[in-house]
Symmetry: C2
C-alpha cells in the first residue's frame, strides 16, 4: 500500500484513538501502519490534539521515550453533560413509566447504547482522576453502564452476582440487608475476578436505600480492595439518609406517586 | 469560534461518525458545527470515505435529499477478524479456566470492553444485512456482547430475565428445558420492551444444548416477532445436535476435560 497522505492519516488516527480511550498506542504502531516517519506522525498528532481540544472531544496525551506512545482521554463540555442528562431525565419523567408499587421502568434507557454511552461519559468525567483497576457492579441492570464507564478507563468490569453460579468458580458470598425492602439478600463474587490491593470504582444504575452499594463496598473490604468512588445514574431523594455516605448520582428521583401518576426527576451536575 | 480548517474538520468528523455507528447525521448538523458550506463538507466526507475504505475501518454512506445525511457503517477485514478471534480463543484455552464440573471460566473475557468490542464487531459484520429492530439476549453474561452488537446497529437491547422483577412491569413468562442440564427453567420478558411485527437478532455468550436460545425464539413467536438471526460467541462441539438449527458461533469449544485438564477451542469464521 502506498504511504498515506496527511488527510488520510488524520481520519484514521482519529478513528483509532477515539475508539479505544485510555489505550496507549506506541508511535511505531502508526508509523508502520502508515509508512510514515515518527516526526511526521507527531505533527499529525498535534493537529488532532488541537482539533479535539477546541471541540471538547477530549485530550490527546503523548508520552515520550521507549515505552511511550499516544492515547486518547475523552472529555465532555459541561454544557453537553447538562444537555445529555436533561434529555434522559425528560425521557424518564413520563408517567407511563410508573409501575405498580411505585417503581420506575428504566430498562429501555439502560439498554440503549446511545443513552448509556452519554451517562457513562459523564461518570467518567467525574471519576477520571480516581485510576481504578476495575469497575464493579452488581447484576443485572447496571452492567451496560459499568461496561461503558470501563471502556473510557480502558479497564475491565467485575460483576457481583445475586446468586452464585457454577461457572464462576469458587466465590466469596456475603449477606446484606437491602436498604429499601429490608429483605436479606446475598451477593457473591468470584475469587478469580479480583486481587488484593487493587482499586475499584463502583457503578450502578439505581440507588434507593444504598444497601446494595454498601454491600459491594463491604465485599471489597473482604477482598482487601480499596473503593475509589461510587457512581450511580439515578438516586432517590427519599430516604435522605442512605446506607452509604459518599456517592455521585447523575439524576435524582425527587418524587414518584403511583396514585396521582406524578413523577419528578432532576439533573444533578453539582 | 472561527471556522474550522479542513484538517480540523477531518479529525472531528472521524471521531463523531465512528463513535456512533449507523446514526444518520444531517449534513446541516456539521455545517452549523463547523461554519462550513455543505459542498465543503461533501469534499471532507469523500476524503474520509476513501481513507476509511482503504484501511478497512468502514463505509461512509451519504444519503441525498431533505431527510438525507451521512452515517458510518463499521467494517472488519477478514484478516483482522481471524486475528481477533484467535487471540481470544488462545486466552480462553488456558487449563486454569477449567472449573469443577467441566465448566469454562469466561466471565473476564465477556466483561473486558476490548474483547467484547472485537467479538461484537465480527458478529455485526456477519449479521449486518439482517436489519433487526432490536438485539435480544438473556441475562446475565450475554448482556455486554449484545450491547456492543446493538451499538453497531444503532439499535437497543432487550433482555429476557430468568426471574421476573417488579421493575419490569407486566411480563410474559415461558417455561423451557435447558438443553444441557435438562432442568426446567423460566424466562420472562417485559411487555413494554417489544412490539408485534418487529425483527429481533438473538445474541448470547455461550451455546451448549441450545435450549436457552430456542426459548428466546419461542418467546419471540409469542410476541409476534420475527427472529432474523442468532449469534453466539462460543458454541460447544457436543452435543452435535442442538435444540436450535441456525446459528452462527465465533468459536467452538471442541473439548473440555476436567480430569486431564485438557481444553481446545477453535475459531469458526466460515
Amino acid at each position: 500500500m502506498e504511504p498515506a497522505t496527511r488527510k488520510e492519516r488524520l481520519c484514521v488516527l482519529s478513528a483509532y484513538l477515539t475508539a479505544n480511550p485510555n489505550q496507549l498506542y506506541p508511535l511505531s504502531y502508526f508509523s508502520e501502519l502508515f509508512g510514515a516517519a515518527k516526526s511526521t506522525l507527531s505533527e499529525d498528532i498535534s493537529i488532532m490534539r488541537s482539533a479535539f481540544s477546541r471541540r471538547g472531544i477530549g485530550e490527546i496525551e503523548v508520552m515520550m521515550g521507549a515505552s511511550g506512545g499516544v492515547r486518547f482521554l475523552p472529555a465532555m463540555p459541561a454544557e453537553e453533560m447538562r444537555r445529555a442528562l436533561e434529555e434522559i431525565a425528560q425521557k424518564l419523567e413520563s408517567p407511563a413509566r410508573i409501575l405498580p408499587g411505585g417503581f420506575l421502568y428504566t430498562a429501555d434507557i439502560f439498554l440503549s447504547p446511545v443513552y448509556v454511552e452519554k451517562m457513562a461519559r459523564v461518570l467518567w468525567n467525574f471519576f477520571k482522576n480516581t485510576s481504578p483497576d476495575f469497575i464493579i457492579t452488581v447484576e443485572t441492570k447496571g452492567i451496560p453502564l459499568a461496561m461503558n464507564v470501563a471502556r473510557f478507563f480502558g479497564k475491565p468490569v467485575v460483576v457481583a452476582r445475586k446468586e452464585s453460579k457454577l461457572t464462576e468458580g469458587s466465590v466469596v458470598t456475603i449477606n446484606y440487608l437491602s436498604g429499601s425492602s429490608k429483605r436479606m439478600q446475598t451477593m457473591s463474587l468470584s475469587k478469580r475476578a479480583v486481587r488484593e490491593g487493587q482499586k475499584a470504582l463502583v457503578i450502578d444504575d439505581f440507588l434507593a436505600g444504598g444497601g446494595t452499594v454498601r454491600a459491594i463496598c463491604e465485599m471489597m473490604k473482604e477482598f482487601g480492595i480499596i473503593v475509589v468512588g461510587c457512581g450511580v445514574a439515578i438516586a432517590t431523594r427519599e430516604p435522605e439518609v442512605k446506607r452509604i455516605k459518599h456517592y455521585k448520582s447523575l439524576m435524582v428521583l425527587e418524587q414518584i406517586e403511583e396514585e396521582q401518576q406524578k413523577l419528578r426527576i432532576s439533573v444533578n451536575l453539582a
